[in-house]
Subunit: 381 residues, 2 copies
């Protein structure tokens, strides 16, 4: 038998919240604000937790992804990258207006993730990170390592967030499903990323794509010890939207993110009410998985000698018919000469493969230092 | 009588260069690379400095702006904001290919400005600044203050750059004309900013706009003790181009910046050859001056409650007929309601004025922390 809100869990939530609030004594310290009591108050008497005595398990083969119905505890996270501002502002907005993100069948917590990077100076509005990318700190290897004073501000925050939203792989994590809100300078449109074994994410994302065919789906790399924030919950996904300069907000893209969350929360509530997944859409989803990355052209000293070609820059990503073919211009050198795509040169690891390659995250600012001009994907379905 | 390259000046250049090179021991330390000896080698015998024995003075009324023909020493500066990457990469490119920026009648130096911010981590490719905005450090008040160890990395660099490119207001500054290469997240297109008393900039910019009517011209604020980098030379201008996310390069905009520099250097060489300004274009230029700024809507706690409205976001800036009228939607609240422009509310300082207002730098990332959603301009001509 499953119990939704046991008192010890609630007090754990608030202990953690108070500790974090004390640590970050800025206005944003009021975030994370947890809506458990609020959600309990809203709880209609006709729908009690005891309707879900036999949760439908979706534990995957490797035991790591097991989001299941009912989804009792949802977390909406923003500011994992401090300069991706849609999430930062939506966290504030949802904290002020919790009714927007609550539904009768689950509770919702709203969390500002990399608080230090959100506040950091140097760009006008936040940095991606202060010392290292927070969204690479949630691997088993990192979280299981011994904490030490010398570790980065991000690793310290990752341990706090793991306590708040996980712990990762625990039997009773504090989040059944996590939405991590991001944005990108690339022309991704809405791009949802999740684990291939996360059946609930797959169902939710198929539903979202059936409502809006421009929504793209991308699987996280399989078999890796992923360091992504949503991996600390039972299930979860990364919500990307672009193109938008970091440290700014585009109102249209912000409102599109809000609508996507509304549709997602409705889906979760429907699944809880049905005690199972709604029937899948008739059309199979369009899903991709990343296969490799392509660096900018560089000279002998490692300096970039060409940037994304206008043909590729303007292209919507992961679209039907959007595969990259050998000879398509991908870069333009500073002297104006175009550089055609050549699979054998640009992604030698895939030179033996003849499957179509789709570019994504083209000209994402954060990837310059990682020597990635764009990522290439295979189409899975 | 005027002497172009006296030996003491050359040795001053190289003393400074070596000092700076030692301080920044990265690959970029090879920048600033000064092309004086290179330019001397190129110098055609038919065109000697002695043709210009009577320089045409363009000293302004206030004695501060006096770029004059011949323009002997040009500087091209990039990376004043470390995340505005067109300038950063063009500095490298021109250092490797000096023939692109030299002309027979003048020498050109190429300088990477905020070296620390260009290298700073946290975004993927540079920060605008490390401690403060370098492009506010070149005021008389700041430069004339006593140097101290506690001052910012930017103020220290400003003093070095003032020595290298100025000194500001000296009789013999090391730059007759400075191009400072910037970019912006706003939809400015090419936007050239200069001092109203800088007759040479005005002539150059009128010429550039006559070649490409989409080029916009904006005067720096009059009468202020300007802290902008180009103010350390005899004359100079800020080259803005957008829209482009910071920490990325858009190849089309990079190549447009290159072309603009080519046209500008040709103009300078022509003026030197003519020993005066070429005749002005028949059409008077379209010129604006900034009049004020408008903040985002905020709640009682100072949190932003609405972002740029899609109607304003997409608009080309400083275009013919692009004036903002009361009632035009300028913001969109997070709940979707539009906020119409109201001069009396949004720019109370201009409420008595009935001249047309043109928005510029709409949704520039760097201005969020300055509480500027956009700048409003008056049309001057």
């Amino acid at each position: 038998q499953m119990c939704w809100f046991d008192d010890s869990l609630i007090s754990l939530y608030f202990t953690i919240q108070i500790r974090i609030t004390l640590r970050f004594s800025s206005p944003q310290a009021l975030i994370p604000f947890l809506f458990l009591p609020f959600a309990s108050a809203l709880f209609p008497t006709s729908l009690t937790p005891h309707q879900f005595q036999n949760p439908i398990s979706m534990r995957s083969d490797d035991g790591q992804w097991r989001c299941r119905v009912p989804v009792n505890k949802v977390a909406i996270v923003g500011g994992t990258h401090g300069n991706e501002r849609i999430g930062v502002h939506l966290v504030t907005h949802f904290t002020e207006n919790p009714e927007l993100v609550t539904r009768p069948s689950f509770s919702t917590s709203v969390v500002l993730s990399n608080t230090a990077a959100v506040e950091a100076i140097g760009t006008g509005a936040g940095r991606r990170y202060v010392e290292e990318d927070l969204n690479r700190c949630f691997s088993n290897q990192r979280l299981n390592s011994e904490p030490c004073d010398a570790e980065s501000v991000e690793m310290k925050r990752a341990r706090e967030l793991d306590m708040l939203l996980g712990p990762k792989h625990s039997e009773k994590p504090n989040s059944d499903f996590i939405f991590d809100l991001h944005s990108t300078t690339a022309n991704t449109g809405v791009l949802l990323c999740y684990h291939q074994h996360d059946t609930f994410s797959a169902a939710l994302c198929s539903f979202l794509q059936s409502r809006d065919p421009s929504v793209s789906l991308l699987l996280w790399p399989a078999g890796a010890d992923l360091g992504l924030l949503p991996t600390v919950g039972r299930g979860g996904m990364t919500v990307e939207i672009g193109p938008m300069p970091h440290s700014t907000v585009n109102s249209t893209l912000l409102r599109r993110t809000m609508q996507l969350l509304q549709d997602s929360l409705d889906f979760i509530h429907q699944a809880n009410t049905l005690q199972g997944l709604p029937p899948p859409p008739p059309q199979p989803p369009r899903v991709f998985s990343s296969a490799g990355s392509v660096d900018f052209p560089r000279d002998a000293e490692g300096r970039i000698t060409g940037f994304i070609h206008p043909d590729l820059e303007s292209k919507g990503e992961l679209r039907e018919g959007g595969a990259l073919r050998d000879g398509d211009f991908v870069f333009q050198n500073l002297d104006g000469t175009p550089v055609p795509f050549d699979r054998a040169t640009h992604v030698p690891s895939l030179s033996g493969q003849d499957s179509e390659l789709y570019p994504v995250f083209v000209n994402e600012a954060a990837y310059y230092e990682q020597h990635k001009a764009f990522i290439v994907c295979n189409r899975v379905s």
